[in-house]
């Protein structure tokens, strides 16, 4: 029995509708939800918590149908995108507000709040009213308020978006620690890939009111179910044909380019082949002794810099292969447009579907 099960959820808001979202995950799992802005992530979350009543579909929590429960019976923690702090209470009281319902002991409440505030570095604003806080401070208060009650299920809507990289980093570590220790199940909406890498067990991708894919992190990133998801997670997709022969492993012909994969597939099948640019190694010369099973000569068509990374776009036999390398590697390889270089991809990094 899954912990949270969302079954065929529909909701119609006139201009926008959720169209049959089904989702389930287990106790203790950490699900991140991604998707373009306006794809319905927040609405989905507000359906689960009970702010919107679905026109069709059910929500089950620990096997119980909670679709018609009032929110106070659901006991689902939430961190709102716009924080929704109570303006008439100070920060301490805001955090204490929900805790009062689960912990009758004032001293123990205070200890918990202080611990949480310390971890989130908001001790200095505990006595202040939320309206005087900076964006990042408000966000951490909202987080503290939700975390301190240790809800069985915690929904978070872009909970780290207003934090600086440093704080975001430490807060992620905090989240990881609490989730493990308290066995909290989490649904976390984010636009930040780093949140996904650092926290997620599973990933759901939404588009236009529909769930495009809902899978383990590895599968979503390496085996996107369609081109939209592939683009969204930054994977490359090719159409290929499985070739006859080969030893246990499998060979796929992608427009003349033959790639080895450790996955198994029936010879002659048409398959989709996925590559992630960060798994493509770039060599100036073809390496001599190496375990890399796919080595391809390719020409650099284009590149651009983004922060400390260079995004390269190679072409080999009519197939476009992307790669990502660091600034230092870029310098070291002394790369120029139209250079012909050697690309390497491990057979384990060529996924099929």
């Amino acid at each position: 029995m899954s912990f949270l099960r969302v079954e065929d959820l529909h909701i119609d808001l006139g201009e926008f509708s959720l169209k049959g979202v089904s989702l389930e995950f287990e106790r203790g799992e950490y699900l991140t939800v991604m998707g373009p802005t306006g794809s319905g992530k927040t609405i989905l979350l507000e359906c689960i918590i009970g702010f919107y009543k679905p026109s069709k579909g059910r929500v089950f929590l620990e096997g119980r149908d909670i679709t018609d429960d009032p929110p106070e019976k659901r006991r689902i923690g939430i961190v709102y995108q716009d924080y929704a702090l109570l303006p008439h209470k100070n920060v301490f009281q805001n955090i204490e507000y929900g805790l009062k319902k689960v912990d009758r002991d004032k001293v123990s409440r205070k200890a918990k709040i202080m611990e949480m505030a310390e971890a989130l570095n908001i001790l200095h604003v505990l006595h202040r009213k939320p309206t005087t806080l900076s964006g990042g401070e408000q966000q951490r208060v909202a987080l503290a308020r939700a975390l301190v009650v240790e809800p069985r299920l915690l929904l978070m809507d872009e909970p780290l978006s207003a934090l600086d990289p440093q704080t975001r980093h430490t807060t992620r570590a905090l989240l990881r620690r609490i989730m493990r220790k308290r066995d909290i199940t989490v649904l976390h909406i984010t636009h930040d890939m780093d949140d996904v890498w650092a926290l997620a067990d599973k990933v759901a991708i939404m588009r236009n009111g529909r769930l495009e894919q809902h899978d383990t992190m590895h599968d979503v990133f390496n085996r996107p179910s369609n081109r939209f998801v592939a683009d969204f997670v930054g994977a490359s997709v090719f159409e290929g044909t499985v070739q006859p022969g080969a030893n246990g492993q499998c060979q796929v012909d992608v427009g003349g380019l033959v790639l080895n994969s450790i996955e198994s597939a029936r010879s002659g099948d048409n398959v989709r082949v996925f590559l992630r640019p960060e798994n493509v190694m770039v060599f100036r010369d073809r390496p001599q002794k190496t375990s890399i099973q796919n080595l391809v000569d390719a020409t650099l068509e284009d590149y651009y810099q983004e922060g400390i990374l260079y995004h390269l776009s190679f072409r080999s036999q009519g197939v476009r292969i992307p790669a990502v390398i660091t600034a230092s590697a870029f310098q070291e390889l002394d790369i120029h447009r139209d250079d012909t270089m050697c690309l390497g991809v491990k057979a384990a990094n060529v996924t099929l579907a």
């Binding site: 918590i49 106070e72 006991r75 929704a84 109570l86 009650v149």
Partner: protein
């Protein structure tokens, strides 16, 4: 015509004035509390709930504001008089005609529509998401109303209370008709004023006017000052 300061002081300490002052304050405060106790949930319901015929209900609630006090008094007299409602209330000790309870009833019904309307509009300005967060943290709708909606409505509650109190302490016609406005029994400050004008006792009339203004000023000033704390 203009009474001296000594006159006024004697008038203030007269039995009639003392009784009237005490009765005004007492009934005014009791009525204001009752008005707010009713206005808060009714205003909240009007703001949050959507139901068929809401426009009509709102209009009916607003309507008594448009009644001249004497008319409202007459309506109440008819309602609490020899009707089944009046008799039922009477049988449980709630006798409103020509009694002190009647003063409270008169003030209550005079001020209620104002307070309800103000509270409705105030709750319109409060983001329901705040209430929702509270409920998701385990508070029932009623607890949330008490702990979130009401505190957030602070400024509106203040406006509503000030107007309710002022309206209660100043209402004349309704009290006169329903409670009878009899000398030394159901005599609030506006009635004292009226009675003494009628008695031709201008000194007392003026004193009660001054007292009414003074008392209202102090009470409203105290109310308005609490704003700083909101």
């Amino acid at each position: 015509m203009v009474p001296t300061f000594e006159d006024i002081m004697t008038n203030i300490w007269s039995d009639e004035m003392q009784l009237s002052l005490r009765l005004s304050l007492l009934t005014g405060l009791v009525s204001t509390v009752l008005v707010m106790l009713f206005a808060l949930p009714i205003g909240y319901a009007l703001s949050r709930l959507d139901f068929w015929g809401k426009g009509v209900v709102k209009t009916i609630i607003d309507l008594p504001v448009a009644f001249p006090e004497l008319v409202l008094g007459l309506c109440l007299l008819l309602l609490f008089g020899k009707t089944p409602i009046g008799k039922a209330l009477s049988s449980i000790g709630l006798d409103f005609v020509f009694t002190k309870k009647g003063i409270v009833a008169a003030q209550f019904f005079t001020a209620l529509p104002y307070s309800v309307r103000i509270m409705k509009s105030t709750f319109d300005y409060i983001n329901p998401r705040m209430e929702f967060v509270s409920r998701s943290l385990g508070y029932t709708q009623f607890e949330t109303f008490l702990r979130v909606s009401i505190p957030l409505a602070g400024s509106g509650i203040l406006a509503s209370t000030v107007i309710a109190f002022a309206r209660c302490i100043g209402t004349f016609g309704t009290v006169l008709i329903l409670a009878g406005g009899s000398y030394m029994r159901t005599e609030t400050l506006p009635i004292t004023l009226y009675l003494n004008i009628s008695y031709g006792n201008m000194g007392m009339a003026l004193t009660s006017g001054i007292l009414l203004i003074g008392v209202s000023f102090i009470a409203i000033f105290i109310f308005e000052k609490t704003e700083a704390k909101l």
